[in-house]
């Protein structure tokens, strides 16, 4: 070919430079100039991410650094404060007690993770095997509904079941095996943790199973593998990523859980999270700071381990090539298993509701008589009203802020992808790695230092940091699935960038935004582990009020309160389900993407429609092309 390609270097002497030659390429500009140019080009991307970065750096990073600094202090027994010393670290690492606590933390984490996996994997499997959609949704609802009820409520329910005069001991006595001492020991903590964390195992495994290529199971069967062998050689290895992701979540959440071991351990289960709280109560901030960083290190090591495991299982994440849906096969055994799991999941909630109508003030089973006096009693609780109000205020404020700035950040990450997006993303998601007790204590020290402790600003800021990653994750995923040519189409038709986002992109991600906001609200409203450190002595949020009450009293006032909360959560969940179903009507209509989708809502209008001929012809073409495709 005589035409030179653009890659071919040409001598500058060649005056007849072709049109493809850059017109007088200027000398490479200085680094600072290039950086400035890049900033200008990506200004929108950086501006959109800026609010989130400000919050994360000013609140989260600031708090964690202050905490780190505190770990190099030492409070000598006689009083005083020595800065810049390794003494507290030394005391921690050489003290046998602290190693015992670390060990117990790991033990609780491992046990909770293993048992949750043993319960959760078959549950996810069973849920994916149910054929009837109605049953399937019922099963999903039962597994996930407890997420909407407060952790304190659920912990309280287990106290009622496992207590000395609780449901379980009543059953044991009835069959002549009891009574047994279960509460206030590791067993009760593990049982409650499994109950609380089960959805975090079921969900990723289900999504893994959902991606499983159904043709692979059929292929294995065709090659002669029986049911068990198919499971062991195909299904299990291919759902391993989900199992590992679930285990990662459950382990991280269980080693950092605070309220459950504190309330059900009865002081006998000493884990890092409860130790941090106790050290703060005993005004040994440096020791609490060291414990916080040890807990953070534990979480980080676990994250690395699970990431390595995940990478090994990575080939499975690629899925199959046919993308055929796995054929759901009903089996009675699975239904039986699901009934058992449902009993386990629902038991504490049911027991709470029954106990709330008890006539006596101690947790006796079965209640000797019925009464509604505990509901009346709620009206006379000092501080309960203001606690509910504060919880609502914080939850609404942090949900609104996090949803807005999180959506801006997600838009920046997906649509603008500015240089350094990995760093922005990591920073935004980093609060999920840090145990909430550690962040709570860090916030406590930090807010004291900057003089914002006790005010609403600090509380809301901390909650924004906690819920922000969830908003960003949900909205990012929604934006990735949204069709960005719709945005381009709106701009092409005359909408400016902001209006194009509102008119073309927002309607597509509306269900995700609702889900993200709801998620944020529930997490914030139910937050204990961080909040408990940030409240001034005269302040309470609802869950912290419940925590404190449960530490002091045994009467069913909490049962009445929890019953009301469960009812409210059910109403809320129902309302959202309706809302999402309505939004889903639009989601189902997003068929103009890759391939024009068939409409089937209007088959009745055939004869009156002037466009029948065209449409009918189209139908036939489609049917023909489908047949052709099928025969190939």
């Amino acid at each position: 070919m005589s035409r030179p390609t653009s890659e071919a270097p040409r001598a500058p002497a060649d005056a007849r430079s072709g049109p493809e030659q850059p017109t007088g390429s200027p000398p490479r500009p200085a680094l600072s100039a290039r950086l400035a140019a890049s900033m200008r080009r990506h200004r929108t991307g950086y501006l959109l991410a800026a609010p989130t970065l400000v919050v994360i750096i000013a609140v989260f990073v600031g708090a964690m650094l202050t905490l780190l600094e505190y770990s190099f202090h030492r409070y000598p027994p006689g009083g005083g404060d020595i800065a810049g010393t390794l003494a507290t670290w030394q005391a921690f690492l050489t003290g046998g007690y602290h190693w015992h606590v670390v060990w117990q933390t790991v033990e609780v984490g491992v046990l909770a993770t293993v048992i949750t996996a043993l319960v959760g994997f078959p549950t996810a499997f069973a849920l994916s095997r149910i054929k009837r959609p109605g049953w399937r949704y019922a099963g999903l609802f039962v597994v996930f509904a407890p997420l909407l009820t407060s952790v304190i409520s659920r912990t309280y329910g287990w106290e009622l079941i496992l207590g000395d005069t609780g449901v379980l001991n009543w059953l044991l006595v009835a069959v002549g095996l009891g009574p047994a001492r279960i509460l206030y020991a590791q067993t009760s903590v593990i049982v409650a943790l499994v109950h609380i964390l089960l959805p975090f195992m079921v969900f990723p495994v289900m999504s893994s199973l959902g991606q499983l290529d159904g043709a692979l199971d059929e292929a294995a069967g065709d090659l002669g593998a029986g049911a068990w062998r198919r499971f062991r050689t195909v299904t299990l290895p291919l759902t391993l990523p989900g199992l590992i992701a679930g285990a990662e979540l459950v382990f991280a959440l269980s080693i950092s859980s605070f309220a459950t071991p504190s309330l059900l351990g009865g002081g006998r289960v000493q884990v890092l999270a409860t130790d941090i709280y106790n050290d703060v109560q005993n005004v040994d901030w440096p020791l609490a700071a060291v414990s916080s960083y040890v807990l953070l290190a534990l979480a980080a090591v676990a994250l690395v381990l699970f990431t390595v495991l995940q990478r090994r299982a990575g080939h499975a994440a690629q899925g199959g090539v046919t993308a055929q849906a796995a054929e759901p096969r009903g089996a009675r055994g699975w239904i039986g298993w699901l009934v058992l799991v449902d009993v386990f999941v629902l038991a504490p909630l049911v027991v709470i509701v029954i106990e709330s109508f008890s006539s006596v003030s101690y947790g006796a089973w079965p209640p000797p008589g019925l009464s509604t006096k505990w509901y009346g009693n709620l009206l006379h609780q000092p501080g309960l009203g203001s606690a509910v109000l504060l919880s609502l205020e914080i939850a609404v404020a942090s949900t609104v802020i996090a949803t807005v700035i999180g959506t801006l950040t997600a838009t920046s990450l997906v649509r603008h992808a500015p240089p350094g997006r990995r760093l922005i993303e990591s920073l935004t998601l980093s609060p999920t790695v840090v145990p909430k007790v550690a962040f709570g204590f860090a916030g406590f020290v930090y807010l004291h230092r900057i003089g914002l402790f006790g005010g609403p600003v600090g509380l809301v800021a901390a909650h924004v940091v906690i819920v922000l990653p969830f908003v960003v994750i949900v909205v990012t995923s929604a934006l990735q699935h949204a069709d960005d040519t719709l945005d381009a189409a709106a701009r092409d038709l005359g909408a400016g960038p902001v209006r194009a986002f509102r008119l073309a992109t927002l309607p597509q991600i509306r269900p995700a935004l609702i889900a993200a906001a709801l998620f944020a609200f529930v997490i914030s409203f139910d937050e204990v582990d961080t909040t408990i450190f940030l409240l001034a002595p005269d302040q309470n949020t609802l869950p912290v009020w419940m925590y404190v009450y449960m530490q002091k009293y045994q009467d069913p006032t909490l049962a009445a309160l929890s019953t009301i909360l469960i009812g409210a959560a059910l109403v809320l969940a129902g309302a959202v389900a309706v809302l999402l179903a309505r939004a889903g009507v639009f989601a189902g209509l997003t068929g103009t993407g890759a391939k024009p989708r068939r409409r089937d809502l209007d088959t009745g209008k055939r004869t009156t429609d002037p466009h029948d001929a065209d449409q009918h012809a189209d139908d036939q073409h489609d049917a023909a092309s489908q047949r052709q495709a099928a025969s190939q």
Binding site: T485, D492, A504, F586, L589, T592, A617, D618
Partner: protein, 347 residues
Amino acid sequence: MDTPDAELRGVRKQYPGGARGVRDVSLRVERGEFFSLLGPSGCGKSTTLRILAGLEEPTAGEVLIRGESMARRPAHRRPTNLVFQRLALFPHLTVAENVAFGPRLRRGSRSETAATVAEMLELVGLSGLEKRYPAQLSGGQQQRVAIARALANRPAVLLLDEPLGSLDLKLRVQMQRALKHIQQESGTTFLYVTHDQVEALTMSDRMAVMNEGLIEQVGDPATLYRAPTTRFAATFLGDTNLFEGTHRDQVLDCAGIAVRVPGPGRFASVRPERVSVAAQLGDGYPNRFTGRLEEVVFQGASIRYQVRLPSGVAVTAERRDEATPALAVGTEVETGWPVDAAVMLDH
């Protein structure tokens, strides 16, 4: 000549990381023209279109629409509208709302907008379907909505980015006719991007063949087909027998055979339909070769023959079905063509 509706002057687009873009495109699209940009995928034709629409910023060069420079003017302030490859209909809006999207943004009065919507739907033949959602329409109907929506802004130039790519053959032919009709009816300038040579040949007033970010040739379809000026244009538009060799004295010396040609050049392109094949050719074939019939492919209206000459060169001929007596594969045949059948090319 009037000011062209769209003009590109030395437009280049380089992507960071060296992805293929546009190397140098200069182009004039006249008022009321149906102009096609034809080329293989990745040749830069869609990028060129998006640069015109303002959805991509050119690295260098100038874009003018009706003589006005479009530099630094974002997509939503340009008098162009684009029919997207994947249509990009708003799934949450009805047909009427989709079409009214542009006029509403332009703050037309309610009655004006309604009149525009009615007119556009009439134009594309969708009156009566105003209240449907895109997912309730067939593929062909969705195409029409996309066109109506883009035309509703009364753009100076309507840009179309392979809008028929997702349709099956028969529907595509139907839509091609509809498009041409809509273009003539509305009198709008169309700039149509496609990789389908048949589409470009049948619909365009003029067209440009693009390859590797450069324009190879611009002209009306007949000229481009009959008188290509580059090897790429000759081979991309239809089939051709391409002979390469050294030219001497009206003869191209090419891999052991001497081809009589009408003029100088390095390549001779001979369309298969100009090549005859028979057991024994009559007189009047200055180019006449004997070879073995290697392949006979029945194509419906025509039959394709491939003849392998002793020198190893393969010659393809395409004849109307009834024009040639049956020939058996493997037999010795004669093949030939007139001197003026060859188009001479330098590169």
